[in-house]
Amino acid sequence: MEAFLPVGFLLIFALLLCIGLFTVKRLLGPRNPVASKLAVYECGVTPEGSARAPFKTAFYLIAVLFLLFDVEAAFFFPWALVYRQSLSEGPALLIAMLVYMALLVLGLVYIFRKDCLKLN
């Protein structure tokens, strides 16, 4: 855990940079707010309706599939760490992973067959 101490320094420096950029922007920039300057930018056309309106849920599917695959991929990592060391102990670890991955691939095939992401 001591190895992470310098990351704390980095955190502080990054914070300083952010604060610095913020103040520089505030101090140097002129301020001359005019109504048309502060309006929503929609290429000069008067905006119609709020941007805060519900829209397509197709993005939700992408996020959900990402979540599930990310979880699966994250648990490949502990396996990857020990695999090389345990080569001498026979194919147990290899088979364990292949079964795990087969189920993952099955999920992927299901997605393609049902065309969840409208890929075709």
Binding site: F4, P6, A14, L28, Y41, A80, L81, M101
Partner: protein, 354 residues
């Protein structure tokens, strides 16, 4: 840890961080001159010799611009947005090794911000936080272009995170370690006597996947959907001007540098010169610190090559459409990543069994 160590570590961290921030002005001029070179036009050449002072002018312009906070925005999140992107981009550089170690007052210090034992996981984890700046910035702008841009951008980033992770996972299988430092040390020496012993020769498919995903993760062309000027004005940063806009770009360039650094460490031997081992170099140079300087130079040159490739690709390949982008990620890259993982495991197994 003594006070002396703490001070040296802090100074080292500051130098590395400032060095990485310098990527931004350098890339400003390189990108513009590179674009001009490829498009057969002069490019910026008025400020200073060969236009070398152009970035300084650019930065001053950015800072002196008027700060507008549009009326409709959610102020707190709007102001926070750019920094939420810059912050993770700054933190990720901690894991990249720039060299073996240097000696100061008879003590050894690693040429890396932090020698993290779970380096690759750290990079993936912190790297995935960059998405929030885009999401919150785009949402807080309360603009249709911003919101759609933010949604598209984040869908793209999360989709390409999986191939990135799978490619990294295959590299972990090959090296048997999470630490980027250990990965680099394994890559010393030669392969079959002719090739440098670099990861690319063991993990060509993994490198390709990582390379493509890196472009998508940094929102560079051909994957710059979120910023597609023609249809979405400017995507998630439509309502951002002046230094806020500049901050998004700082983060993008820093992310590019980090991704290049990762590729160099994982696939291109890190601080090792091809064919020459560290021990031989140490004999020639005679000093540990001189060797460290040479190693840092090597890493910088390798990163610079990748940055040039980023610029080159930007002006060579046209942009993907959104559905093409998603199809590439889910139908091509993820199955390929899984295949690469199995392939690596099988090769290792039969190599070990034989």
């Amino acid at each position: 840890m003594e006070a002396m160590d703490l001070i040296v570590t802090a100074v080292k961290t500051a130098i590395i961080y400032l060095g990485m921030v310098q990527v931004v002005p350098i890339m400003l001029i390189v990108e513009r001159r590179g674009a001009a070179l490829i498009q057969d036009r002069p490019g910026p050449n008025r400020v200073g010799p060969f236009g070398l002072f152009q970035p300084i002018a650019d930065v001053i312009k950015m800072m002196m611009k008027e700060v507008t906070i549009p009326r409709q925005v959610n102020k707190a999140l709007y102001l926070l947005g750019p920094f939420l992107v810059l912050f993770p981009a700054s933190l990720v550089i901690a894991a990249i090794p720039f060299g073996d170690f240097f000696t100061l007052f008879d003590r050894n210090y690693v040429l890396q911000v932090a020698n993290i034992d779970v380096g690759i996981l750290y990079v993936l984890a912190i790297g995935s936080l960059g998405i929030y700046g885009i999401l919150f910035g785009g949402w807080a702008s309360n603009n249709k272009f911003s919101l759609i841009g933010a949604m598209r951008s984040s869908s793209q980033i999360i989709s390409y995170e999986i191939p990135l992770g799978l490619a990294a996972c295959s590299a972990v299988v090959w090296y048997g370690s999470f630490s980027l430092r250990e990965m680099v040390s394994i890559q010393e020496g030669t392969l079959l006597g002719v090739l440098p012993n670099w990861g690319i020769f063991y993990q060509p498919l993994g490198f390709l996947l990582f390379f493509i995903a890196a472009f998508a993760e940094t929102n560079r062309l051909p994957f710059d959907l979120p910023e597609s000027e023609a249809e979405l004005v400017a995507g998630f940063h439509t309502e951002y001007g002046a230094m806020d806009f500049g901050t998004f770009f700082m983060a993008e360039y820093m992310n590019m540098a980090t991704m290049s650094g990762l590729m160099v460490s994982m696939y291109f031997g890190g601080w090792h010169l091809p064919w020459i081992s560290d021990a031989t170099l140490l004999q020639w140079l005679g000093s540990r610190n001189l060797l460290a300087a040479l190693q840092v130079l090597t890493v910088i040159v390798k990163i610079a090559v990748f940055m040039l490739i980023f610029v080159w690709v930007r002006w060579t390949i046209p942009r993907f459409r959104f559905d093409q982008l998603m199809r590439l990620a889910w139908k091509n890259l993820i199955p390929l990543g899984l295949f690469n993982l199995v392939l690596t495991a099988l090769i290792l197994y039969f190599k070990g069994a034989a």
